[in-house]
């Protein structure tokens, strides 16, 4: 028996378990591409339109961070600019979640122990997870290429785009295999993998945003950070712009390297344990733990700390960019126009518009934190300790309310932190500390009501349909993000974009905040939250 015995069987088991989840990821990603193709054609029908649009955005770091650096004005080039980095991002999440699901999560539930006692090799489980992720990415790459060819965007570009996205997904699968071995548990592994994807997206974003604009006025030489990121590599394959297939060697090398590391780790690690041995802890509890709120805080503080590091670092980087942004916009009247439009009109201050766009990204991150935090009660309920806790003199509303309080308090603290970090760095580099601190903190805090809506939706889903709550809450988050942040790109009518809470956040500091929409958002959030709480009080526990 070799260390790989049983791999084929375990792969079939993994594919069988994922028979709904993976196809949904893949089809969702392809659907996003398909919608973008038709929207791009509608918005930019001619070469002229595309040239104009790309020339405008080339000088706009806020847009470049979210898209990518323009490569050419062909239809394919425009499409790559619009959507390639998002496709790579989605492939990354699909891959890391799948790998952790079939490695670390299996260990936590004791399934690996059962499998390990059968005729199954030491590395079979890990190999099966990786093979599953590779298969999913191969299918995704193929479908992307097919959709592009089917839309008349055939040729080498279609293949390159598909393979570039698939290769990004595969390299994240490799990273996930390493963190799945190193982390203390599945939750931590998923968190670390998500952080890696987020960092990869942002690092590449800064590389694109601060590249050098070439003489033609719209293509760019990317700054070096692009080369540090698997998502950046996907761009550098340059589909529809003189494909450079040799760049694909980078993700494949990263994959091979991380697979080797994960195998080495798997070989010396005990099933169920992290790399760091668990230390003995306190023999009795501190007073602070001994209440539902104390417990919720204890369970959630690690997650909050991770997000605080990410949000704080992001905000500090954003704050430090003020000078660069001002410089980039100085000679670009068109960019000024676009940015002013994004900012909702009424301002010509490009720097403020840039900060408003960045704060919207931070707002979306914080909304993601809120959804993650509010899925904790579900994990506690489904095969967790909630049964025993709710059999003590802890009322249901108090128990769920404690988790809600930690999530909302955590979101407020994260936004405050973002405002302070951005304002402090901005003020220290440009002077006028007091004003910038106040402006940035305000710009961060107006994001809170949108995050509260997602909190309300998460609680409502948990109260009404507990078994589907995790999927529903993340779907609501994704839809809000797509409609709010990409609605413009997809050419969706305003009425549809208005479904997203993110569409109603005023672009502070570029425009003044008005209380009306913010209060309306809070009212909607409250309605969702109350409905969720009321139905949680009345329902059976879904153990």
């Amino acid at each position: 028996m070799s260390a790989f015995t049983g791999t084929a069987r375990l792969t079939r088991l993994a594919l069988r378990r994922d028979r709904i989840q993976l196809p949904l990821w893949i089809l969702g990603t392809v659907l996003l591409l398909w919608t973008t193709i038709s929207a791009t054609r509608e918005q930019y029908p001619t070469e002229e339109d595309r040239l104009q649009a790309l020339t405008t955005v080339a000088g706009s770091p806020a847009v470049l961070i979210l898209r990518s650096a323009p490569t050419n004005t062909s239809e394919g080039g425009m499409l790559v600019f619009q959507i390639l980095t998002f496709l790579a991002l989605l492939a990354g999440f699909m891959s890391t979640l799948a790998v952790v699901r079939h490695t670390r999560q299996n260990e936590e539930t004791g399934r690996s122990e059962m499998l390990g006692a059968m005729v199954v090799g030491r590395y079979a489980s890990l190999t099966a997870a990786l093979v599953t992720a590779v298969i999913a990415n191969a299918v995704l790459a193929m479908l992307i290429a097919l959709v592009l060819v089917g839309s008349g965007l055939g040729g080498a570009g279609a293949v390159a785009a598909g393979v570039a996205v698939g290769a990004a997904g595969v390299s994240f699968a490799g990273l996930a295999a390493v963190v799945a071995q190193a982390a203390q548990g599945a939750r931590a592994a998923n968190g670390m993998a998500a952080a890696a994807i987020g960092i990869a997206f942002l690092v590449r974003g800064f590389g694109d945003a601060f590249g050098e604009i070439q003489a033609n006025g719209y293509t760019m030489d990317n700054a070096w950070p692009v080369w540090l990121s698997p998502i950046g590599w996907a761009e550098q394959v340059r589909p529809y712009a003189g494909e450079r297939l040799w760049v694909l060697a980078l993700p494949l090398l990263l994959f091979a390297g991380s697979v080797a590391v994960s195998f080495a780790l798997a070989g010396r690690r005990d099933v169920g344990m992290g790399l760091i041995a668990a230390r003995p802890g306190p023999r009795s509890a501190k007073r602070a733990l001994l209440s539902p709120l104390g417990l919720a805080w204890r369970l959630q503080r690690g997650t909050l700390l991770g997000w605080a590091i990410g949000v704080g670092a992001m905000a500090a980087v954003v704050g430090s960019l003020s000078g660069t942004v001002e410089e980039a916009y100085r000679d670009n009247a068109k960019a000024a126009e676009t940015i002013a439009k994004i900012g909702g009109g009424g301002t010509s201050n490009l720097v403020d518009a840039f900060f408003a766009a960045m704060m919207a990204i931070i707002g979306a991150m914080v909304a993601g934190y809120v959804v993650q935090a509010l899925m904790r009660p579900r994990a506690e309920e489904a095969g967790g300790p909630a049964e025993a806790v709710l059999a003590t003199a802890t009322g249901r509303l108090r128990w769920l309310g404690s988790h809600l309080a930690v999530a909302v308090g955590g979101a407020t603290a994260l936004l405050l932190l973002a405002g302070l970090c951005a304002g402090l760095v901005y003020g220290l580099t440009e002077g006028d500390l007091g004003t910038h601190l106040a402006d940035m903190t305000g710009a961060a805090l107006v994001q809170l009501p949108a995050a509260l809506i997602l909190a309300g939706v998460a609680i409502a889903a948990y109260g009404l349909l507990p078994r589907l709550a995790v999927g529903l809450a993340w779907a609501a988050f994704t839809v809000s993000l797509v409609l709010g942040q990409l609605g413009d790109l997809l050419g969706l009518p305003q009425a549809v974009r208005d479904i997203s809470p993110f569409s109603h956040v005023p672009a502070v500091p570029a425009v003044d905040a008005t209380a009306g929409p913010l209060l309306a958002l809070v009212a909607v959030a409250l309605a969702f939250g109350i409905a969720g709480m009321a139905s949680f009080r009345r329902r059976n526990l879904a153990l």
Binding site: A278, G281, A285, L295, A388, A391, T392, A393, R539, L543
Partner: protein, 299 residues
Amino acid sequence: MTTAISVSGLVKTFGRARALDELDLAVETGEVHGFLGPNGAGKSTTIRVLLGLLRADGGEATLLGGHPWRDAVELHRRLAYVPGDVNLWPNLTGGEAIDLFAALRGGIDKRRRDELVERFQLDPSKKARTYSKGNRQKVAVVAAFASDVELYILDEPTSGLDPLMEAVFQECVREVKERGRTVLLSSHIFSEVEALCDRVSIIRQGRTVESGTLAELRHLTRTSISVETTHPIAGLLEVSGVHDAQVDTTRAKFDVDTSELDHVLRYLTRFEVRTLTSAPPSLEELFMRHYGDELAGAR
């Protein structure tokens, strides 16, 4: 005596499956009540309804004079629960979990808690992720007995404990019984139930099939007799209440309905009894008799 738990006609359905089908259960204050039934009979479902974690679809249930759903929080101050499947927080230590459960229930007797940790030989400084099933169960059992409450609801509390710890557990149950507390003990370990319980209820497919003291239940079933006489035994097979008799001239082995014991013994004395051993039915036999046909049906 007053009633600690009174359930009548309890119905609970999950979709089309009827988990509890008009179940009855009565537990008197101060008794240790055994709650028996095969896997999937509805024991845990009943307990979860009593704890207000599930909502009953029909029937009546009263717990310590209150309504299990409406008065859940107030009632939970007066009871302690050990779930059948003990799940703890992987990153909290056993000691922290014990203190937390006791505090959420309304208070902890620190001295009693330390004494129990000692008796159950639990290392409270270990993170829960490193505990075995038995050790997780010890955490829940210690947390329950460290609280001085009126009612203890224990769902298969010892299924992962070793025999030494099982003995400690039985001591703990006896101690709370001496203090007049009530215990509802769901268990598959017959020796444990026989050693601890004043009365038992046996349920099957969501219904109560038998309830009473062990003596009463024994009365409903058969005693095994093995006898040796001076004179050859004749006509034993025709005596009413005798079953499965094997007669070998002066020796016989048979089962007898406990209610018919007296006249069967009178009949035997005609042949001059030289030795006689009788084995009262064990709880296991009682149980097997109720589920025997189910086992036979499964074969």
